[in-house]
Amino acid sequence: MKPHVPIAIYLSLVALSLAKPELSQTVATVAFYMALGQAVNIFVGLTGYVNFGYAAFIAMGAYGLGVVIAYFPQLGTWTLPVGLLLGVALAGGLALAVGAVALRLRSAYFAIATIGINEALKDLIVGAGIWGGSSGLVLGYNMFQEYGRDFALFLSTTGSTVLILATGLMAVAATYLLQSREIGYALAAIRQDEDAAKVMGINPAKYKLIAFVLSSAFSALLGSAAFPLAATQVFPDTVFKVDYILDGLAVMFLGGAGTVTGAVIGGLLYVPIRLLLGQFLPAYQALVTPLLVLAVVLAAPRGIIGELRARVSPKIREWIP
């Protein structure tokens, strides 16, 4: 298995966004969905469990960085690394807590628990009025104070794009490493038959938890990049949007669940598909994602890369892991 193709695609996008800052916005949009699909793939694709709570983990990343920028201005430029770490820690901690409880049980219970995380955390933030409550966090002024005008503007354009691309790249590397090491075989065994895996001496809860926490941490980094950094604001209604879950699933299934290259190809196709259909049928744009997911799941459950891998010679298959 050689992950050269996805890495080359990511690196050329990094080069593109640095060389042509005016394209940074477009690259960021495409890369966000590529990376989100990859993050979803690390857990859903590799374990076969479904996490409906991705928006909550994106929101944890957004709030982690947002809260540090809003409430700790004395940290100056340090708010960026501290905030990113806090976001990852919040999302990872949440995944650890929910996963430790729900990953022991049947997958139906896990799906139930994750579908609740999203609504519940939004209810907590709005209901208890924490972190700005329903009025959210507006960060523009603080960011100018902490980073200086020029650096703040750089961060919210090229900076956030590079962070999204770096997250995607790390997620590709993580998918590749997870698949090619011992844990990859364990996850494959769990995916095919959890009870049999248990008999073979594999501890399913442990491996599922590792994948779940990793996948959540990558989603959090995307949340940090897209909301506090790029949009300079964090509102509960935008960060807890259920749409992101379906977006991530669409990208992953389109490209191919459980593959390394799938989410990259899925993301590259998904954004243009949505844009094109949105141009021709603007009133029906919202139907595109759910219809796409339904169509792919029903007609080609293995996705583009999965179907390709089943058809090409082993030599080429090496190149599209």
Partner: protein, 292 residues
């Protein structure tokens, strides 16, 4: 000191509706082992059925509940044959994802067809007074209707040959097939019945949300139904109904409590507590309140 009795009465009445909404979810899970993550969208469908029957033809929800059952049953048949049956072999992940996409699709279709605005109606037939505490008659009748439907389902399950076939399939699908039960047919009819109960619950729900019908209203009810279903044991229909009553009390009594404690949005806090209850149940008692 706040007088909690009106909140208690309200919790009991609205809890009956929550129970009915959840029964459909538990019924389908109990028989097909499929978690209907599109649940909330079928509640939304029921609410719109009630709205249009009331606004267009002035039929009150107690009448349009029959339309809710019929349309829900048709939708359930379609759901089984279009999504669940083709994906049974592909695995649970694919069914869950497809159902989730379907729920989102239904909400977006509803927005295109019926507009994004919040709509509603009030069916006022007066109120009765129970030792000084006023109860809306329409809501009381709705709660009783929900109870009757829940009991009727028990009768079907335990007093008819179809119910016996269903219980046999739940125990052992292969064994049921061997003794000549058409398992496919049981699955299809069960899905239809489960969805019918859900839309009927959505119809009756409109009695409690005078201005709250919109395409995206379903999501909180999906979560609510999951909490209640896990409390009730996830596979037990009567357990789901009783847990619905308890959850109605939690939401209803939680409201004055969180308001007295000074929370910005007490209703949202009660819903959050609902999720905490879900996690606690998953942690300590995944089999639910009642052993079955």
């Amino acid at each position: 000191m706040i007088d909690l009795i009106p909140y208690f009465l309200n919790g009991l009445i609205v809890g009956s509706i929550y129970g009915l909404i959840t029964i459909g979810l538990s019924f389908i899970f109990g028989i097909l082992k499929v978690i209907n993550v599109a649940h909330g969208s079928f509640v939304m469908l029921g609410a719109y059925i009630a709205y249009f029957f009331f606004v267009l033809w002035a039929y009150p929800p107690l009448v349009s509940i029959f339309a809710g059952l019929a349309i829900g049953a048709l939708a359930g048949f379609a759901l089984y044959h279009a999504v669940i049956r083709p994906l049974r072999k592909a695995g649970e992940m694919h069914i869950l994802v497809a159902l989730f996409a379907l729920g989102s699709l239904m909400a977006e279709l509803a927005r295109i067809a019926w507009g994004p605005n919040v709509v509603g109606f009030t069916w006022n037939i007066g109120s009765i007074s129970v030792s000084g505490y006023v109860v809306q008659l329409s809501q009381l009748l709705g709660a009783i209707a929900a109870l009757i439907i829940a009991l009727a389902l028990q009768l079907i399950l335990y007093r008819t040959s179809f119910g016996r076939a269903v219980r046999a399939v739940v125990q052992d699908p292969v064994g049921a097939q061997i003794v000549g039960i058409n398992v496919e047919r049981v699955f299809a009819i069960s899905t239809a019945m489960g969805i019918a109960l859900t839309t009927a619950g959505g119809v009756l729900l409109t009695l409690f949300i005078p201005v709250g019908i919109n395409p995206y209203m379903g999501d909180p009810y999906t979560l609510m139904a999951f909490v209640i279903a896990v409390m009730g044991g996830l596979e037990s229909t009567m357990g789901a109904y009783v847990a619905g009553l308890i959850f109605g009390e939690i939401l209803s009594l939680g409201y004055p409590l969180f308001r007295a404690l000074g929370f910005a949005a007490p209703y949202q806090m009660s819903l959050f507590v609902g999720f905490v209850i879900l996690v606690l149940f998953l942690l300590f008692r995944p089999s639910g309140l009642f052993r079955i």
